[in-house]
């Protein structure tokens, strides 16, 4: 058993028997796994394995065909995500996400993007716009706090000097970082990142890894630690920073464990290198595979 699953504390997110069908196509087939607070859980698999679909189920964009998704807050509150409408999951359960193809508010400034992320908090403070329209002081204070939080995350992702830029004008890597900062401004308990390193150069993905480990390790003001669910194709990033790796292939979970365990799992190697038998494998991989099979 891996270190991750030996942890006795209750997991932050439990995915149980998740199945998602689109007509005849089964994008997720009976997938179960757990993700913990203060850990990075990586979700890997070949193209079309169903990773984004699983994210969409967790974040409420799709309603799963079968299965149960439970989110447990550190205070003990439980949410059954599959029964909640999309925006409620972000609002109440505290699940934030980024998108595989960046979705920023391109015409708005970087700072505004981060303020919009704190919408619900501010909406309450502005008395659903009525007190705000009348210029009552409560809103002024809440907005100031929102700007402080935005500044904190801008600093973390090193975008402070770009705060007043139009988000759509940022370079690509900066847009990726801004999307993460925006998700963090919702003060989530679970952060879901869909291929955050896609399109980044090695230096930028190194910085990204730093940001992600910071998010994992830092204690939030509410006194808990954030769980990170990470879809990533860049294996160097995955192997370096994740605590726990789940591998999907054709919608099924084929492996689950520490990075070291998954790297040597023959099922994973087969999935990534094709079903053809030994002769198709490069010799060093074949040797690895044989070793792993003997060890098992």
């Amino acid at each position: 058993m891996s270190a991750a699953t030996m942890n006795t504390e209750k997991p932050l997110l439990s995915v149980e028997h998740l199945t998602m069908r689109f007509g005849g196509l089964v994008a997720n087939n009976d997938v179960s796994f757990e993700a913990r607070a203060g850990e990075i859980t990586a979700l890997i698999g070949p193209n079309g394995a169903g990773k984004t679909t699983l994210f969409n189920c967790v974040t409420g964009f799709y309603t799963p065909t079968v299965g149960r998704l439970t989110l447990r807050h550190p205070q003990g509150k439980e949410f059954l995500l599959e029964r909640m409408p999309g925006y409620r999951i972000a609002q109440l359960a505290g699940v934030a996400r980024t998108f595989q193809n960046i979705r920023l508010f391109g015409g708005m400034s970087v700072l505004e993007n981060l303020i919009v992320a704190q919408h619900n908090k501010l909406m309450r403070a502005s008395g659903f716009a009525i007190a705000g329209l009348l210029g009552l002081p409560g809103f002024r204070k809440a907005e100031h706090e929102a700007v402080e939080l935005a500044k904190y995350w801008l600093d973390r992702v090193r975008l402070t000097e770009f705060a007043d830029w139009e988000a759509g004008n940022l370079p690509y890597g900066a847009q990726r970082r801004l999307e993460i900062a925006r998700a963090m401004c919702t003060e989530p308990v679970l952060l879901c990142l869909d291929e955050p390193a896609a399109g980044l150069n090695p230096r930028e993905s190194g910085e990204l890894a730093e940001i992600l480990t910071f998010i994992r390790d830092v204690q939030t003001p509410q006194g808990h630690r954030t769980g990170v669910l990470l879809i990533e194709h860049d294996m160097s990033v995955v192997m370096r920073i994740s605590d726990h790796v789940v591998v999907l292939d054709y919608g099924r979970k084929i492996s689950d464990g520490t990075p070291g365990h998954v790297k040597n799992d023959p099922a994973v190697i087969r999935a990534y290198l094709g079903e053809d038998e030994d002769e198709a494998l490069p010799p060093e991989v074949a040797a690895d595979l044989n070793l792993a099979q003997k060890g098992a």
Partner: protein
């Protein structure tokens, strides 16, 4: 239309320095071709006109107009061609002369005058730009950048232009300039400005293309007319009621419709606008059908005094109350101030709400509504709020319209009204407050100033919209300033397109 194929012989057209000479044959041929295309277009559009004869509809030819437009197109194309070939200065002088002649000398028809003035003006502008910049042709990106910079300047200047314009509008009725006609045009313009600002909330901020805004205008107008007619309620009671009823109809429409996206949404709102109008036409017993409702009470001076010479029982007369000479203009001036105040309320609301989470959520929805859901924003509620608030302002404008006219009928609430209001918003630049004012002056003011040319209104309107779509798809003054700055005035926000 064809672009002149001058590339091989003249790779660059130098404005100053060595000139490669003018290729007259090709330029004239090109201008002739353009005139020919214009001929094909103008014969059916302008050259023929249906007239009502005692024997039935007849067709009348209008050759002068066709010839005038052909000459205009030919000369215009020739002018453009010559500008490109380094003759900007002579063309500028000629065009200015043309415009001057059109302005000063008496012309046989109004059309010819307009052709000379406008045509000369446009060509002169183009030539002047070339002379000033030393470049014969701007690329689309260049033009966009220039317009963006201009829009940004206007936006920043609006901090001063705004109050000056409001002050001007406020003192206008007190100046000797203010006769009945000026005030009436002022009221008309302000009504459309208010409607434009109202629709701007839905279209410009929330990014929902509403093609049926006039429905809420109608709901407001009929609310007041019917409440006054059946219950004898006064304008000041009905104004808020009309707003509430219009907002309710907005929610009623919004609830089923807001889940639709883009084009589907636009089409359903268009249908809703028509449904309201058709109900008004057909519910004869209640709404008076196509005959409309007449005798709608005029507004009183806040319920204190009446503007008529001999007010009803128990009501003071305005002129007596203030010790003035009686004048029918008092009511008009009052109406003018009323619509000015209403329009300013809408403007103030929009300016403030943009800095509140509600307004920011609207703009975020316009940018990307899926991202909004991922941030926990309740999209339906936000869109409903935009819809209801815009509808409420439309309702206010509607009841103002009813009390000003004293008579309303479904005729006043056809689709073309929605289209005009939308055109104002889009032309001005979506989301731009000052853009709406400029666009209203263009769309409503210009045709009003050239009333004699009523026949060509829609044609000019259409042509104007096509030109805007080609040159400036985002609207004349589309420029957005962030609603909150981190670095304050120290570092200026980088304008669009500066990075990368």
């Amino acid at each position: 239309m064809t672009t002149p194929s001058h590339a091989p012989s003249h790779p660059h057209y130098h404005i100053n320095g060595k000139r490669p000479g003018v290729d007259w044959a090709a330029t004239i041929k090109d201008a002739g071709l353009a005139a020919f295309v214009a001929l094909l277009l103008t014969v059916p559009l302008v050259g023929l006109r249906t007239v009502d004869r005692p024997t039935g509809l007849g067709i009348e030819a209008r050759p002068e107009e066709v010839i005038a437009s052909l000459v205009l197109v030919f000369l215009g194309r020739l002018g453009l061609g010559l500008i490109r070939q380094g003759m900007a200065l002579p063309v500028l002088i000629l065009a200015l002369a043309c415009a001057g002649v059109g302005l000063v000398l008496p012309m046989p028809t109004q059309v010819l005058r307009l052709v000379l003035v406008l045509g000369g003006g446009v060509i002169a502008l183009r030539a002047a730009m070339t002379v000033a910049t030393g470049r014969s042709k701007l690329s689309q990106a260049d033009r966009d950048k220039r317009m963006d910079r201009f829009a940004a300047k206007v936006q920043h200047a609006s901090r001063y232009i705004g109050p000056v314009a409001v002050a001007f509008a406020a003192v206008l009725p007190l100046t000797p300039l203010a006769d009945r006609m000026i005030l009436d045009i002022g009221i008309l313009l302000l009504t459309y400005i208010m409607l434009g600002w109202g629709l701007n909330i839905v279209v410009g901020l929330a990014g929902l293309l509403d093609l049926g805004y006039v429905a809420f205008y109608a709901v407001g107008a009929y609310s007041y007319a019917l409440l006054a007619h059946y219950f004898g309620l006064s304008f000041w009671v009905c104004l808020p009621l009309a707003g509430v009823l219009a907002a309710c109809s907005g929610v009623l429409l919004g609830f089923p419709v807001l889940r639709l996206r883009g084009d589907y949404f636009a089409i359903v709102t268009l249908g809703f606008g028509e449904i309201i109008r058709i109900i008004l036409v057909n519910w004869y017993q209640f709404t008076g059908g196509p005959n409309g409702i007449s005798g709608i009470p005029r507004p009183s001076f806040f319920g204190i005094a009446d503007f008529s010479r001999t007010p009803a029982e128990g009501m003071a007369a305005f002129h007596e109350l203030f010790g003035l000479e009686f004048s029918p203009l008092h009511r008009i001036v009052f109406l003018y101030y009323l619509i000015l105040a209403l329009a300013l309320v809408v403007n103030l609301f929009t300016l403030r709400v943009r800095k509140l989470p509600l307004g920011r959520a609207w703009e975020a929805l316009r940018e990307d509504d899926i991202a909004c859901a991922s941030l926990g924003i309740n999209r339906t509620n936000m869109k409903l709020a935009a819809f209801a608030i815009a509808a409420m302002f439309g309702g206010f404008a509607g009841s103002f319209f009813a009390t000003r006219q004293g008579f309303i009928s479904p005729e006043s609430f056809t689709f073309i009204e929605s289209a005009i209001i939308l055109a104002i918003v889009v032309l001005g630049g979506m989301g731009s407050q000052i853009g709406v004012v400029v666009a209203t002056l263009l769309v409503i003011g210009l045709p009003e100033a050239f009333r004699e040319l009523a026949d060509y209104r829609m044609l000019a309107f259409g042509a104007g919209m096509v030109v805007i779509m080609l040159w400036r798809p985002r609207g004349l003054l589309a420029h957005r300033d962030p609603t909150i700055l981190l670095h304050g005035g120290k570092k200026k926000p980088v304008p669009a397109g500066a990075a990368k």
